[in-house]
Each structure stands twice: as C-alpha cells, then as structure tokens.
Symmetry: C2
C-alpha cells in the first residue's frame, strides 16, 4: 500500500522529534508499505530556515518582495526541510529522494501566495516508489505550467499531502501532529476532552470552520472527493489517532451508533450587533449587509426578523462596523466579548431533542444563550466569553463526550 | 544595451555593500541600459543563508545527502540572495523580478554538483527586460530538461553571468568583486601591484589557472567563444576595472604596445620530486606517471630527460607520492615548500629575451630557479617558498608592471 505521511513544521526542529519521525517511517517501511512523506518548513521564528525567519530577513531588506518572488523565497523553507529529512533517512540506510512540489507533479494556478492545485501528475513519484525509495516532498508548494513556483497558502502542507494521496492514489494519508488525533474539544478548555476514533470528512470540516485547530478544510475536501481516508495522529506515540472518512463508513463501522454529537469547537472575540428596524427605512437589512460587505467585514450568525437584524463580527472589526451603522444613523446595541460555541455531529441530523439538551445543559449551568443557529450537522450558541469554558464543559458532559470511543 | 552584472556572495551581507550594489544598478538603469543581475549565495559561514551554513546544517542532520538533493538544497542560497535583491530594488522603486537558474533558461546536464550548461534559452529574460524590469537571476544553478535543479560547481555564478551574457547577447558582462579589477600581481605580495586596463581572455585564463584569484576560466571561455566582453571591477568604486576581451582587440586598442608581460601569478605549497632513471628500468617515466594518475595525484611542471623525471605535486599529495615511488623502489630527491611563479603575457609570444630578463631579474635578487617551463603566453619558474615574494617583487619591477596603464 502507498502511504502519504505529513509531518509538521516542528517535527524536524529537534533531535527528539526527528527520532519519532524516523520511527514512523521505519515502521511503515518494515510493514512493506511504500512511502511519500510531505514536510513543512521548520516552524518556530528564529529557527534558521523557518518561514517566519525568511520573512523577517526580507522585512529587514527592503520589505518589498512581490508575491511571485515571495513564493520563490518561501518555497526554500520546505525545500530545506525535505533535504534535511532526505539526509536523515539516507544515514539510516533508507534510500530517499527529495522533490520540490513542482517536481512532485503538483501543478497549480498562478495565484501566488494562495495558489490552487489544478492537477497532480504522480508519474515521477511512482517511478521513485518503484525503485523502493522514500519520496520526501516539500509541502505547501507547487509550480505552474510555466515553471513558476507557487505556495498554497493556509493549510498548504496538509493540502499537498491529501492532493498527492488522491492522485497516487494512496491507501491512507497520515497527518502527524502533536496531539493524539481529533479531540472532542480543546483540552485547554475541557480537561476531559479525548481523541475520537473516527469522524466524517464533513464533521472535521465543520470543526475546522468553527475554530478547532485540526487539518485544514481544503485538505479534507480533496481527500473526501477522492475517497482517500485520512488519519490525524501523534508524532510522539504509536496511537492510531482519528480516522477521517466518509459519513457512511463512519456509520457502517459503528462510529455513530452511540453518539449524536461528535465534538465541540469554539471561537472567541466575537461582537454581537443588534440593529433595530422599527423606526428605520424598510431596506435596513439590505443596507446593513451591503455596508459591511463593501468594507470587507465578515458577518456571521445572522438573524433577520421584522423587528431587526442580529449578527456578529469579530471584535477587531467591531469598531468599524459600529461606525458604519452610526453613519447610516441606525441604532444598534453592541455586545462585545462574546464566544461562539459549536456543537458538531454528523449523527444529529434528524435526531430530535439535541437543541433541547443544549438548552437544558446551559440553563443548568446558569449560562445565558445570547443567540443560536443550527444546520443539519452543527448547532451554534453565542455566549459571553466568560461563560465559554463552563459552556464547553457542560456540553461535553451532557453529550457524554468523555465516553467517546478512542482507538 | 543589455548589461549582465554579477555580484558576489558578500555583496548582500551588509548594508554598506548593499548600497553600493544598488548604486551600480541605478547608474546603468539611468543610462538607459537593460539589466540582468546574477547573484551568489551569501558568503560567510554563519550567515543564515550562506552555502556553508546550509552544508553545516546538513552535517548536523544525518550528513548523508545525495548529490541530487545537495544541489536542491544549495540552490536555496542563491535563491534567497535573488529574492533579497529583488526586494531591495522594488523598495527603491526599481521594478525587478527574481528567477531561479532554471527559470532564467539555463539548461544543464545532470551532473549534480558540477553540471555543465548545455543550452541557454533567454526568451523569458528578454520578455521581462521588454517590461523594463531588472531581472535578478540566482547564480550557480541551472536545471535539466526534466526540471532537476543542478549547481554548476566552482566559479558557478561567474559562469551563470557569462552564459547569460553570451545567450542574450549582452553588450557587456560586469563581474563585480572587492578589488579594482585584475591586478598585475597579488597586492599582498607586491605592494606596487595595480589594476590592468585590459587583458585578453587567454591571459585571464592563464592567470586563473596559475593561482590568481580572478574570474573562473570556465566563465571566461564561454564569454570568449561568444565574443562578449567582460569587465572585472570593484563593487565599492566607480572605476571601470579591467576589460577582458579578444587578444586582437587588446592589441588593436593598444593594450600591448608597451607591454610584454601582463601580470604575475603564484601558487604556494608545491613539492618538487626528482626521480633518477640511471639505474632503473627503461619505463621509469611511464610507471611514475601511471602510478600518480592511478592514485589521483595531479602532477605539474613535468620535465622528462634521459637522466630522470622532474615534476611537482602539492605538498598535501607529496607524502603519498613519495610512498608510491618508494614502493616502486625508485630513488627520488624530494624538495617540499616550493612555489610556482607564473609570468603571463599575451604579448610575449615571439618576443625574444623574456626568459633572459626573468633569469636576470631573479639572479640579481639572489633567487635560485629550481625549475622552469614555458608556453607561448606564460613562463613558469619554481622557487623556494621563502623566495616567492622577493621573486614576485623583482619580476614586477623588471617588467615595469607598476607602470601598467589603468583606466
């Protein structure tokens, strides 16, 4: 089986992490698998070849790099990581080659800084795999038809990994992180949080969109379309982490038989704006959202009623949003310092009473719900920021997430 | 006119040098020239993106990088320099692009670490020049037909510059260094040494081959074949440095009307070996040179006579050379700590009495000549290392090199 492994930016920074990386590679090799390993640039600012260090260097030198050249520069970070791992593997007697994103066949459009993958030609990787080599690929980058070097933007290396996994195709894509998989909640907020055995592509996307620090939705989408299973697992253990796959596979394998809710996510720093329409013109709603859009302010949690408009913006955007409302002479109530708590579960679709259980849990904990919204797989509640941690803990307990099956 | 400028590894390391680099670029732009600027990696070990720093990093991480990947890694050094200069230029309001060697059209064979340029396609550079952009090219590197990144080995960035100069073609290739051009001798040995106004391609090659730290012969050869003039000049002054061109141009422009000898070069650390053939087998010479060649020992200054074989090796190779001779039971006189002094001049061809003047000058200075050799443009003498500096000074004076015309 072909396995794509992706290691993050910190995995090559110190000897301890490097040894763990080598262990995962040796183990899969020993089991007869063929390996493509995607690496990110070194992570921490100040490390010689970290992305931020490269950007700091340019900031000190003119600070005027066009996007095209910035991509060319940043691509070196991953390239150096790839060469580093290649050297470590060869020392261990594991034949390896290092490829740039372009050499690995990742073709992108020319939107420098946030290029989209348009095609992956895996022929060259397959040739090297035939030669029994570990193929180390510089993540986060690709090349245009014309040979321009591009970077993929946020979640870039995850995207490189799943795109290669989809093209080869790989039997599985393993995303190695510093946690044991995808957790039911952020463990800094909920100490009972635990890794899930299995989640669906849709669930993990929902978690990511709602603030959980997991694999990037772009990367998940590519895996989902190709039907390549993804595992999110720890660099530092032998645990199998969380399997991400199609909802029907999760269902078939019993992933949801005993759960309605899969996990919780949260976003802090939210401001709620309530605009009253009673005495205003009839097109208040239209004018509000048009003004926000023209100023590039993202709005969320929108609730339109005859009595008014309720919506949220980030605390950063709030002053400008308020100014815009004042310019239009709309009266608005402003509530800053809120948090959005998301209750996510592919199994809640059609399941009655989920909202009731949320309200019950939060009421019992004396937490006022400032606003709510729901889709078929997620329910969102807005609470005061001070209530966020108690809300997460109450909901975690109420849905029995501390009992979620792990592997 | 298209001008190719090449700046070395130290030119981007500090603010002072950077300002001088920008000055040269601004000046040529102001005169209406179109510019291609080739840059090396930062020079000094310890600087974040210097070649040696990258190699040190790998030495600490497995130290087992295959040649192909080593080239991929090292190419980042020049790439970062190119991005840096591009940023500096854009800040100055001078539109610039940065290209890898491959993007600049430099096609090479696949001999990683010492690739040869097989073709230069300048179409892309010409397009950017049409857009009135300064084209910054990462030196020292190219790419194969298959998109493999290669490095050009020693003198690589000079070679990039003259190869681009030949392909475009450029009106001139300016090699910026930290001296005012090609000097009549090493100024650390001969304080009267001064920059030459003009030398021929052949002369500069001879100087380089004989130990002078000037532009690499590979680079000169490419310029010579294409007939592109090269200037070797200082980053830190406005001096025009030394023009390197065809011998007949030098002659036509009066470069040799008043000179027989153009300059002096020297190599220290030479061991002279004298093998006597009197009592040995008849194939002594053959066996000596075959043994040296099989052991990878470079021999120089070869003098074969019926009485024996006289030749030189480096001091480093000497112990092994002596051991090989002993194994063959040849008796050899060994004289280590010698120096080779080269007297170079395109104008000495057919000029009588040059050797006589050399002998006269050295005899007057009480310097024994241990051995000599000559070609049509160079005369070599071997002296004791202690005699090297006095020999250089005596010859410099004898040929009136302190009067050489500069620009």
């Amino acid at each position: 089986m072909i396995i794509v492994q992706k290691f993050g930016g910190t995995s090559l920074s110190d000897e301890y992490s490097r040894q763990h990386v080598l262990r995962h590679i040796r183990r899969e090799k020993a089991e007869g698998h063929r390996l493509v390993v995607v690496v990110s640039a070194m992570g921490r600012r100040g490390e010689p070849y970290a992305t931020d260090t490269l950007l700091d260097w340019i900031a000190q030198n003119g600070n005027s790099l066009p996007d095209r050249e910035k991509d060319l520069l940043l691509s070196c970070g991953e390239l150096i990581s790839a060469a580093t791992l290649c050297s470590l593997l060869n020392r261990e007697g594991i034949p390896a080659v290092a490829l740039t994103g372009g050499q690995a066949g990742i073709r992108t459009d020319a939107r420098f800084g946030f290029a989209r993958i348009v095609d992956v030609n895996s022929a060259r990787i397959l040739e090297y795999l035939e030669e029994d080599k570990v193929v180390v690929v510089a993540g986060f980058q690709g090349a245009t038809e014309d040979g321009e070097v591009t970077t993929l933007g946020r979640g870039g290396s995850d995207t490189s990994a799943t795109a290669l996994g989809a093209a080869l195709p790989a039997g599985i894509v393993d995303i190695y992180t510093d946690v044991d998989g995808i957790l039911t909640a952020d463990p800094r907020m909920v100490s009972e949080a635990r890794p899930l055995a299995m989640v669906s592509y849709e669930e993990i996307c929902n978690m990511a969109y709602n603030g959980a620090k997991v694999i990037h939705p772009r990367a998940v989408e590519i895996a989902m379309r190709a039907g390549v299973p993804v595992r999110v697992r720890s660099t530092f253990s032998e645990g199998l982490g969380t399997l991400v796959t199609h909802a029907d596979s999760v269902r078939r394998q019993g992933g949801w038989t005993d759960r309605t809710v899969t996990g919780l996510a949260h976003v802090k720093g939210v401001t709620q704006l309530a605009v009253e329409t009673d005495n205003g013109p009839s097109d208040v709603q239209l004018r509000v959202f048009r003004a926000m859009a023209l100023s590039g302010i993202s709005v969320d949690f929108i609730n339109v009623t005859p009595a008014g408009v309720l919506y949220t913006v980030t605390d950063q955007d709030a002053p400008q949003a308020v100014r815009l409302l004042e310019e239009m002479r709309f009266s608005a109530r402003v509530r800053s310092g809120c948090a959005k708590v998301s209750v996510i579960g592919g199994g809640m679709n059609g399941e009655p009473g989920v909202m009731a259980r949320i309200v019950e849990a939060l009421t019992a904990a004396n937490i006022p719900i400032l606003q709510s919204a729901d889709s078929n797989t997620t329910i969102w509640v807005l609470v005061a920021e001070d209530d966020m941690v108690p809300a997460l803990q109450a909901l975690h307990a109420a849905f029995g997430l501390h009992l979620a099956p792990t592997r």
